[in-house]
């Protein structure tokens, strides 16, 4: 089975770890500090996962999930991440990250900013738009009626397929929406942000983006 490393053992990191463990993945977790700082959390909330350093989590993992505050992205161990498949689950959130002009730039999605910071990694955006409550409460087996969807954006078809498989494994319908630049269609201010809906509804929200307030702003900023 694949090994997944998660950076950030907060609200979202914990839930993603729980879902992956349930689906049979091997999970490594790392916070900002040493592994013993998160050892108890890992033991109680995500039994079966292993608390490690950021470097270890990255080195041993087939796929790395970024679930730390976006404002801290420059602390991500970028050399170790070279060649790895990376899921960016992060959003720019003023209440946490404070005012950060580079993350507000409408000409680029925040996932493209992460890709630029990790030039030798394969970055895919996923798990970012759904709140951690719903992520926890709304898993369903494949084919079940009412199964909710998670949007995925990325530039490489093989990577997208791999992540689509992972999303499916943990209990959601994957919806591939396009290249990493489309990640902005999932960011705060978009209709998709916060949405826990089925695949068709998710797709139509994504398609409708250019007609929305944020969509128009993005288009005119990118002209």
């Amino acid at each position: 089975m694949k090994t997944i490393g998660i950076l950030g053992v907060g609200k979202v990191g914990v839930v993603i770890a729980q879902l992956l463990l349930k689906a049979g993945y091997k999970v490594l977790l790392a916070g900002s500090g040493s592994p013993d700082k998160i050892a108890l959390t890992v033991k109680v909330l995500t039994p079966g996962a292993v608390a490690v350093t950021k470097q270890e989590a990255v080195k041993q993992a087939d796929i790395v999930i970024l679930a730390l505050p976006l404002g801290k992205y420059q602390t991500i161990p970028k050399d170790e991440l070279a060649g790895k498949l990376v899921i960016d689950a992060m959003n720019y959130w003023w209440e946490v990250d404070g005012d950060q002009p580079d993350l507000k730039d409408l000409t680029t999605s925040t996932s493209e900013t992460i890709q630029k910071f990790l030039p030798e990694s394969h970055v895919v955006k996923a798990f970012s738009h759904i709140g951690y409550h719903e992520l926890h409460d709304e898993t369903r087996p494949a084919g079940a009626p009412g199964r909710k969807a998670i949007a995925i954006a990325g530039n490489n078809e093989a990577d997208l397929d791999t992540i689509a498989g992972l999303v499916n494994d943990v209990g959601f319908d994957p919806v591939i929406i396009g290249p990493l630049a489309f990640g902005i269609r999932l960011e705060p201010g978009s209709d998709v942000f916060g949405a826990h809906v089925e695949a068709a509804a998710l797709q139509s929200m994504v398609d409708h983006f250019p007609q929305t307030e944020l969509g128009k702003k993005v288009l005119s900023a990118r002209k």
């Binding site: 053992v9 907060g10 609200k11 914990v14 916070g31 998160i38 108890l40 959390t41 033991k43 109680v44 909330l45 404002g71 959130w93 003023w94 209440e95 946490v96 990250d97 404070g98 709140g131 951690y132 409550h133 719903e134 926890h136 409460d137 960011e187 705060p188 201010g189 978009s190 209709d191 998709v192 942000f193 916060g194 949405a195």
Partner: protein
């Protein structure tokens, strides 16, 4: 379990949202604050154990200085616990927070209670000249200093977030020698561990999704207190709600102001407007305690049993709700819901 009766305290909690009068006109900020004082007096009369006031610095809320409002309530009541929900310690001075609460404690004959936390908004940071990037160190240092101040002995302290203290003695002292202090926690495991480390009881803010998700967090708190050798205090929870005579009436009254409040906050944070389906989903499966006294009592009893909490605070009055409906809510909560929840809990223990 010891076979001891499951004693539960019941509170209400408000941010001081601006209500409307019966003609749908918004009250002034001053009227809204006096309304909260009246609500506290009524709450005590109908047997509610605690009132908690949030601290916000935004146009839709009247309460930015909850401790001052609590001081007003203190002199008009005699039993009800006077709490904050929450005091944003990171952008405040722990010495001043202690002084203000020990003053409330004096005015109220020992009923002051501090609930420390991050709160759901962070507008106090730019307002008071703090950088959100420093949040962790601000909270960590100030909680540690506050824990020292609570011992009510001269404090010697040094850190990076305020001037050092050299055997500083802080007044007024309380009569009991201790101000009750809890830590309010959302879904972050680190904050749970921090509460255990500083020997503070936990107040869980469960504002969305199913409460079931928090079961392992309670285990985490218990195990952490064991590891640190601190006390395993009873845990509290708070969740939003509203009560009227029937389910239909409660939903009809609560939905428009709830949506207004949700969408207004959502606009600044970038989440989409809430749909009625989502609202109903939260009522049925999630953490909105909205309905008739029987509906709300059943839902509360389930959560209290599931999580084994010793206190349940209902957050009320989201958005521009009618002031009269808020008073009615408090009356129904005190006279119908609380007794019924106690009954449901007792049935189970028999």
């Amino acid at each position: 379990m010891t076979g001891k009766k499951h004693e539960v305290l019941f509170g209400i909690d408000t941010f001081g949202d601006l209500p409307v009068d019966d003609n749908k006109n918004l009250l002034t900020y001053a009227q809204a604050i006096r309304q909260v004082v009246d609500e506290a007096v009524l709450a005590e009369k109908v047997g509610i154990d605690a009132i908690a006031l949030g601290e916000h610095h935004r146009p839709e809320y009247a309460i930015s200085a909850p401790d001052t409002v609590l001081a007003g309530i203190a002199t008009k009541t005699s039993k009800i616990t006077l709490a904050t929900g929450v005091t944003v310690l990171s952008s405040d001075d722990p010495v001043r927070v202690f002084e203000r609460f020990s003053t409330i404690d004096a005015l109220s004959n020992g009923r002051a209670q501090v609930i420390l936390g991050r709160g759901s908004f962070t507008e106090s940071f730019p307002l008071f000249g703090y950088d959100l990037q420093d949040y962790e160190v601000l909270f960590e240092e100030k909680v540690q200093l506050f824990a020292e101040l609570l011992k009510e002995k001269p404090v010697t302290w040094e850190g990076t977030t305020r001037a050092a203290l050299d055997k500083a003695d802080v007044f007024p002292k309380t009569e009991s020698g201790h101000i009750e202090t809890m830590i309010g926690v959302g879904g972050s495991p680190q904050s749970v561990i921090r509460a255990a480390h500083y020997n503070f009881p936990l107040m869980l803010a469960i504002i969305g999704g199913s409460p079931d998700r928090f079961v392992p967090y309670i285990d985490l708190y218990r195990q952490a207190t064991k590891e640190f050798g601190t006390k395993t205090h009873p845990i509290g929870m708070h969740s939003p709600g509203f009560i009227a005579d029937t389910d239909e009436e409660a939903i009809r009254l609560a939905w428009p102001p709830y949506k207004k409040s949700h969408d207004r906050i959502g606009k600044t944070r970038g989440w989409a407007p809430i749909t009625r389906d989502q609202f109903m989903y939260e009522i049925v499966n999630g953490s909105l305690y909205i309905g008739s006294p029987e509906t709300v009592a059943k839902k509360m009893a389930r959560s209290i049993k599931l999580l084994g909490v010793g206190r349940f605070d209902l957050v009320y009055g989201q958005g521009p709700l009618a002031a009269s409906a808020r008073l009615k809510f408090i009356e129904l909560y005190g006279t119908k819901v609380i007794p019924r929840v106690r009954e449901l809990l007792a049935e189970d223990e028999r």
